[in-house]
């Protein structure tokens, strides 16, 4: 049997293991040679950026951080970019999680790392309790978000966070939650998720507060659905969305750079500045080029398979 295999059959029946090894090579080597890939941000990413930039300094946004290290590849980068924007614009954040018991810890670790970066850059630290409170995890996501629709206060009731010098204190004693009862008292609700919690949020809260998402690539299509029916104001999806965001933070929107030419145009918005010169790129810049090789390999494999099929077919006819 093995003997009289036509070339077509061979092409059609490459052993899996071979494909796997090639994939490992394709996803490892480029990591050592990062390059900047040209890119055009998606409209949804621009909308997300514009909405983040439109929150007034000193305001407080709701931030649902529903990701853990298992989607670190996409979510961590998105979280970092979003937080960088909030931090630089002096926007406060109330961080809660309905996705995973571990999510609050992961988010805090990420913020700690960002703070190290800020202090190194001689920027003020983003302080717990004064700039952000971590409300913690809610085991029954659906019902909690449902409760937020009627009253944030009642669904966050009894949740505590560490106040400097006072230990665990009711989160509503924090200055950034003063006089905030309803979800409508927040200018924006940002959901950074690696799971389905985004749907739950839309189902329960759409129309009550502007909602923006940063989701993993796999959630992209569903999220696009909400985006199109204007249930959410903007979103970044997966690595592409992240790369867009990092680019936008560099270039801004309708915003001429030093040499005077506008990199990102959008007729929807007036000029929105970026943060040129600051640390904007992270995971996106690091992973996106490599992704090209991986996808390229996938396409190649599909082509080889089909070529093989045609060869052996025509071979069959002879």
């Amino acid at each position: 049997m093995e003997g009289n295999k036509t070339f077509g059959d061979v092409l059609q029946s490459l052993p899996k293991q071979v494909l796997y090894i090639i994939l490992i090579v394709f996803t490892s080597v480029p990591l050592f040679f990062p390059v900047k890939v040209p890119n055009q941000p998606l409209e949804s990413s621009i909308d997300l950026y514009a909405n983040l930039m439109s929150v007034k300094p000193g305001e407080t946004v709701l931030l649902a951080s529903d990701w853990t290290n298992s989607t670190r590849g996409e979510s961590l980068g998105q979280f970092n970019s979003v937080m960088r924007i909030l931090m630089r614009r002096g926007v406060n954040a109330v961080i809660y999680s309905t996705g995973d018991p571990q999510a609050p810890r992961v988010a805090q670790d990420a913020i700690a790392k960002l703070n190290v970066e800020r202090i190194a850059a001689k920027q003020p630290e983003y302080k717990r309790w004064e700039n952000f409170v971590s409300v913690g995890f809610f085991s029954n996501g659906e019902a909690t978000v449902n409760g937020m629709a009627t009253s944030v206060r009642s669904s966050f009731n009894g949740k505590k966070d560490f106040a400097p010098g006072r230990g665990l204190t009711d989160v509503f004693e924090s200055p950034i939650l003063k006089g905030r009862e309803k979800v409508a008292d927040f200018p924006l609700l940002i959901v950074i998720t690696g799971s389905k919690t985004s749907n739950i949020t839309v189902e329960r809260l759409s129309g009550k507060v502007p909602i923006a998402f940063a989701v993993t690539g796999v959630m992209g299509p569903e999220t696009g659905n909400f985006y199109q029916s204007q249930q959410i104001v903007g979103f970044a999806s997966g690595l592409k969305g992240l790369y867009d965001l990092e680019g936008l933070m560099e270039d801004g929107v309708n915003n001429p750079d030093k040499s005077g030419n506008v990199v990102v145009k959008s007729s929807k918005y007036g000029p929105i500045p970026g943060f040129p010169g600051e640390k904007n790129d992270g995971q996106g810049k690091r992973y996106y080029p490599t992704l090209h090789f991986a996808v390229g390999l996938l396409i190649l494999a599909v082509i080889i398979g089909n070529v093989g099929m045609f060869l052996s077919r025509s071979g069959g006819r002879k």
Binding site: K16, S70, G141, R153, V218, M219, P221, E222
Partner: protein, 311 residues
């Protein structure tokens, strides 16, 4: 003040429509369930994926290898999990008759409890309780990828001949499908997550797309209640289609006209703007879906224990 008593928040403006629409759907379902109960026999079209179930079990019996079932990764026991277990009840019934070992892997403890209970019942009804091994219905893990690792380990070690992945599946879907494929097991799969369906299509032998999953139990068992409700679902779908078509017509007509007003959600009022085409948002159907709620303040006496209650 009276208005607050008369109309609730959700009924203001066109808010009532949502409630009414849901009510109509519910009525459709109940009416048809009633019709079916009264013995009216109703037609169901053929669903390829479901005919495969018997074949798969038959094959497993020939090979004397176990049948593996996964009722999805629902976070809690919900309709999707229940539906999956309903289908698996049918599968296990066949397996029980052929004395074929089964393996039902649960992601959630509550689902596990229900499955344990239902499957035992199945064996009892068949009078084969002696063949029932409580360990054949297992809780693996309620951590997505621990579950994935555990199940694929089981598939490889038990060399399952037929595998059923029905329910809520996410990223791990492909892990199961490819692992099962690598040992040449027949796979019948379905995910209520449309985003996972393409991966199942790529890797599995038979795939139930979207709604076919909910049709399954009716199709397999032909219980009047289920069949009736299935017909009710079809009526509901037709209603949705009708609403979409009507809406399209209204919309198309609306935008032909011009306006100098636009609704401001923040203000909760109309504001004047330079003339332009009507916004589709102002069309009849859109207003039914998204009521424009003007601001409304109602003052009430303060609660004496307010302080205590808001703490």
């Amino acid at each position: 003040m009276l208005i607050a008593d008369a109309v609730g928040q959700q009924y203001r403006e066109t808010g009532w429509f949502g409630v009414l629409f849901t009510a109509i759907l519910v009525t459709f379902l109940l009416v048809n369930i009633q019709r079916a109960k009264m013995g009216k026999n109703l037609y169901i079209r053929r669903i390829a994926g479901l005919n495969a179930i018997d074949e798969a079990i038959g094959r497993a019996t020939e090979m004397g290898r176990p049948v593996l079932m996964v009722p999805g990764l629902s976070d809690n026991v919900n309709a999707i999990a229940v539906q999956a277990i309903n289908i698996f009840a049918y599968v296990s019934r066949l397996a029980a008759r052929f004395a074929n070992p089964i393996l039902l892997c649960c992601y959630n403890a509550a689902v596990f409890t229900l499955a344990q209970e239902v499957i035992r019942d199945v064996y009892q009804e068949e009078g084969l309780l002696d063949r029932y091994d409580p360990d054949s219905v297992r809780f693996i893990s309620d951590r997505q990828f621990a579950f994935a690792a555990g199940v694929s380990g089981l598939i490889l070690r038990e060399q399952t001949a037929a595998t059923f992945f029905l329910g809520e599946f996410y990223a791990e879907a492909l892990i199961f499908a490819e692992t099962a494929n690598s040992i040449g097991a027949i796979q019948v799969a379905s995910s209520t997550e449309a985003t996972q369906t393409p991966f199942f299509i790529a890797a599995c032998d038979y795939v139930l797309i979207g709604d076919e999953f909910y049709a399954a139990s009716a199709y397999l068992t032909r219980q009047p209640v289920l069949v009736g409700s299935l017909v009710g679902q079809d009526w509901s779908k037709l209603l949705v289609i009708a609403l979409i078509l009507v809406g399209t017509i209204f919309n198309t007509i609306t935008v032909q006209g011009k306006t100098t007003q636009s609704w401001d959600d923040k203000e909760g009022a109309y504001k004047t703007i330079p003339e332009r085409q009507n916004d589709p948002k102002q069309s009849f159907i859109q207003q039914l879906a998204t009521p424009f709620l003007p601001k409304m303040e109602v003052d009430r006496p303060k609660d004496p224990d307010a302080e205590a209650t808001t703490k």
